[in-house]
């Protein structure tokens, strides 16, 4: 997002004397005044020395940054305020709506850096929400599909179609051929009427000649159309398959940073929906678009050459019909949307109640819920009935109006025939063309929307395909055999550059050592792990494994040798065997059994009716938390990593299970460097060293006994935990 807007010239002239020639580093608009009213935009201007607020075209507060302790962007309800903290007292500077909150929180951090004499300038990597050109919402992309030139979009579409471009053009040519046949059929028709039927001199031979010509043409048109449809559909399916694979591969490749900046659902949409939009376009629009447009053009040309006056008359009706169709479609959409929205509501309600059925039953609210649901369903029925009635009455009526143009041709054309200005065959031909012109109007009125949707989908797909993975292997990355020495060297990192989660972390771990990471939530324990797994790269400092910076180790070899047992074990849909073999699909069955035995999982697995072939995950067998953890341990054992990362579950399990898991873990970590985010005292007592994180830094390091003697943060935590237990008992 932009953090430095351009100040309007006349305002710049006004602040110029205040700025004393300093460069503007940040500049953001203010959409509210201090009373919380929408006003003419004010501005907040920040240089390295000062912060200036402009409201109502007047210079307001001026803060010398060197005299302030901090600039704060405070998130209030549906809005935000900017505060300067000076000698411990707060000063209200400005007010803005949610629209600028993110930007102001960055600028506040940036200005605070200046307060502290740090001259770094922050950038915000988040995408703009609105197109700076047209002001419309961007569909989560960098470029705006509305402002993108159609030519460029078409090129990108062809690029996406890739190697299928030739086939695409072949289809287009076929479509032109189909249209030509359709138009020429009417010509044959006319000849038949004028030369054979009207003079009544035609022979049976002539009739059969026409019969076969028509049969041939119709057959050819049908065959071509069928061929076209099949081709477009298969092409659409293939293109969307290719795209899906490409987008999916790219998402897997991209760093977590990119992925976590988007919602999982949104990314899924791009893989599934956007690619199928492209397919739908190929199947529904593309296949018909050219045929229809060619037919319309052909019919129009034929009409103009046949009877110019009548053609003009027919055309005069077209815009009116078109406008009518559009108005009708808008009405149609409106009604449908109302129905959908209600459908949604009913579904949500249903899902809500069924998911919460235990609560409903245990509070004896069945009757109330039933009544409530019935009232929803009644209203839905009402809307549906109304809509159906609307269709039934209005649709035929609309069709009548649209085709009324052709009735006029009957009258005027009929007169021309009587006056010998037109033959009967010509009139029939003309009417057929008029119908050809009117019928696709409905389709044409839908085209802009279909094209816009296609453009949006293309934009959203390209947005991912164009993204460069931030964490890529450097060209000279090497595969190494990890022994297990790990060193964190001056690590500073924040998910958002302005908010460090880890500050200046230094930690040296010997091969085979077990480290317990403790600290309250949000202090950076998981972040340390993420950095070690290289899901993110630190902002400053480096991590060394066996003396080699992890940036120089190939990602593949790094991940192969780090094993993870996470708090929430995610089991993929599949059998237990597949899940245990996830990281090592080539492991033999006996190896899997051995790993499961070490993980204390073999016994419960063999008790399942389907043993290792038990299907788990979505729609599958549900395992208990303890069972899942042991599967995860087996997975990690089979993986045979040199470094183990353990994220212990906070929830407590029953003693028996807990004991089995502890035992399994001990076997897993024996001789391997282990980082454990530990919550249980039993785990913490066993680790070699405990690292206490507090306030984003390492506060204490030492063994359990050492830290207990020290009576610092760790001691307090342990005591609090003991107290909790005694209270529970």
């Amino acid at each position: 997002m932009n953090l430095c807007y351009t100040l309007p010239d006349e305002l710049f002239e006004k602040v110029r004397p205040v700025l004393k020639g300093e460069k503007i580093i940040y500049c953001l608009p203010l959409d509210l005044n201090l009373n919380g009213e929408f006003t003419k935009f004010g501005w907040t201007v920040v240089t390295r020395r000062r912060l200036v607020v402009i409201s109502d075209d007047q210079i307001g507060e001026i803060i010398e940054l060197s005299e302030a302790d901090e600039i704060i962007c405070s998130h209030e309800v549906n809005g935000g305020i900017l505060i300067a903290r000076q000698d411990g007292s707060d000063r209200l500077l400005a007010r803005f709506s949610m629209r600028y909150l993110t930007q102001y929180s960055y600028v506040a951090r940036g200005a605070t850096l200046f307060c502290r004499g740090d001259s770094r300038v922050l950038e915000n990597q988040e995408r703009e929400k609105y197109c700076p050109k047209c002001g419309k919402v961007l569909p989560g992309t960098q470029g705006c599909p509305r402002c993108a030139k159609s030519g460029r979009m078409f090129r990108r579409f062809l690029e996406l179609c890739g190697s299928y471009a030739i086939r695409l053009s072949a289809i287009t040519i076929l479509m032109a051929a189909t249209s030509a046949i359709t138009v020429s059929q009417q010509y044959v028709n006319r000849r038949f009427i004028d030369n054979v039927l009207v003079p009544a001199t035609g022979t049976l031979g002539e009739i059969s000649a026409f019969f076969f010509t028509m049969l041939l043409l119709t057959g050819a048109a049908l065959a071509l159309t069928a061929f076209n449809t099949i081709w477009s559909n298969s092409l659409g399916t293939r293109i969307s398959r290719d795209l899906r694979a490409r987008v999916y591969a790219k998402i897997n490749q991209l760093s977590l940073e990119f992925i976590s900046s988007r919602q999982a659902g949104e990314l899924m949409n791009r893989v599934v929906h956007d690619t199928s939009h492209i397919r739908a376009f190929m199947e529904h629009a593309f296949a018909q678009m050219f045929t229809r447009i060619f037919i319309m053009a052909g019919a129009l040309i034929a009409m103009v050459t046949m009877n110019f006056k009548l053609a003009l008359l027919t055309l005069a009706f077209a815009p009116a019909a078109f406008a009518l169709i559009r108005a009708f479609r808008r009405m149609e959409r409106r009604l449908w949307r109302q129905q959908w929205r209600f459908d949604d509501k009913v579904n949500n309600r249903l899902q809500d109640v069924i998911s919460g059925i235990r609560v409903v039953k245990s509070f004896g609210q069945e009757k109330r819920e039933t009544e409530r649901f019935e009232s929803y369903v009644d209203r839905m029925t009402h809307i549906q009935k109304r809509n159906e009635l609307f269709w039934a009455t209005l649709y035929p009526f609309i069709t009548l109006i649209i085709t009324s143009g052709t009735f006029l041709i009957y009258y005027l054309g009929g007169r021309d025939v009587l006056n010998d200005r037109m033959t009967p065959g010509q009139l029939i031909q003309f009417i057929a063309y008029a119908n050809m012109l009117y019928m696709p109007l409905q389709f044409v009125s839908r085209l802009p929307r279909m094209i816009m949707r296609l453009k949006t989908s293309i934009e959203r797909i390209n947005d991912i395909l164009d993204e460069e993975p931030k964490i890529a292997d450097s060209p000279d990355a090497v595969d190494i055999e990890i022994k297990g020495d790990v060193e964190f060297k001056n690590i500073t990192f924040g998910y958002k550059s302005y908010q460090p989660v880890l500050e200046n972390i230094n930690l040296s771990v010997r091969k085979g050592e077990m480290i317990g990471l403790v600290g309250s939530s949000g202090t950076g324990k998981s972040t340390m792990i993420n950095l070690l797994m290289r899901l993110y790269d630190p902002d400053e400092g480096s991590i060394l494994i066996d003396g080699v910076p992890i940036t120089a180790i190939s990602k593949n070899s790094l991940h192969r040798q780090i094993g993870v047992v996470l708090q929430e074990t995610y089991l993929f849909s599949g059998t237990l065997l597949e899940n245990i073999r996830y990281a090592n699909p080539d492991a033999s069955r006996i190896e899997v059994i051995r790993a499961a035995k070490i993980a204390n999982a073999h016994d419960f697995i063999t008790h399942f009716p389907n043993g290792y072939d038990t299907y788990v995950g979505e729609h599958g067998y549900t395992l208990s938390g303890g069972e899942r953890q042991r599967i995860a341990i087996a997975r990690a054992i089979l993986h045979n990593p040199r470094i183990i990362i353990l994220d212990e579950a906070t929830s407590s399990l029953d003693t028996e299970t807990e004991y089995q898991i502890q035992e399994a873990l001990e076997r897993l970590i024996a001789g391997r460097t282990t980082f454990a985010i530990a919550h249980r005292l039993s785990t913490l007592r066993k680790v070699d060293r405990i690292v206490v994180l507090d306030n984003h830094r390492i506060a204490e390091v030492g063994s359990h006994n050492e830290l207990m003697r020290k009576k610092g943060i760790y001691y307090k935590m342990v005591m609090a935990q003991l107290e909790m237990h005694s209270v529970r008992k």
Partner: protein, 191 residues
């Protein structure tokens, strides 16, 4: 030595208990035990005397409504201003405070809650998944954008609606039927 350890442990347990008690106790702020004062920086300070007669001065307090929609004037939580600031106490009923205090608190509430009320709808146009609204609110004219579908326009009680725009701003329609027929028709699609 052993004894000393035990004493320390008791200390910590006592401390913890105090913290818990502090969190769960309800302290009421009344005209008698509090002095609110406007600060130079545009906020409000508080000198509060707690139940034990201990006076404490807060250079800035922030105020939160417990029931911003259903009972806005009652149960105002007065807190330390930081994000995880402690609650200092509750004002049971703003109308029972002195006029001067009430004014100050209302000003601060106004600062915290940005809740424009839609008075007039000039137009709503929908385009490709978003609707673009042009309205006049009690805070002045405003244009904003709402994502279609989902529940971005929703009812909170009889005829009362809230609209969330894509930035997270919230607009209120206090009574649907106070709007004109044309405006209701515009809204019809979204509610």
């Amino acid at each position: 030595m052993l004894n000393e350890h035990a004493v320390k442990e008791d200390d910590i347990i006592a401390q913890q208990k105090k913290v818990v008690e502090d969190i769960i106790s309800v302290r009421l702020i009344t005209e008698e035990n509090s002095v609110f004062e406007r600060t130079e920086g545009g906020f409000v300070s508080l000198e509060f005397t707690d139940g034990n007669g201990e006076k404490k001065f807060y250079s800035r307090v922030s105020v939160h409504q417990c029931f911003p929609y259903s009972d806005p004037d009652r149960y105002i939580s007065v807190r330390e201003p930081d994000r995880d600031g402690r609650e200092i106490g509750l004002i049971e009923d703003l109308n029972k405070m002195s006029k001067k205090t009430k004014e100050m608190i209302l000003e601060q509430l106004e600062l915290r809650y940005f809740a424009p009320v839609i008075i007039k709808i000039r137009s709503i146009r929908d385009e490709y998944g978003y609707s673009y609204w042009d309205v006049i609110t009690d805070k002045g004219p405003c244009r904003f954008t709402v994502r279609m579908g989902g529940s971005n326009v929703y009812s909170i009680g009889k005829n009362r609606y809230l609209v969330n725009d894509i930035d997270g701003n919230r607009f209120e329609i206090p009574d649907l039927y106070k709007l004109t027929a044309r405006e209701i028709k515009l809204l019809d699609l979204y509610i």
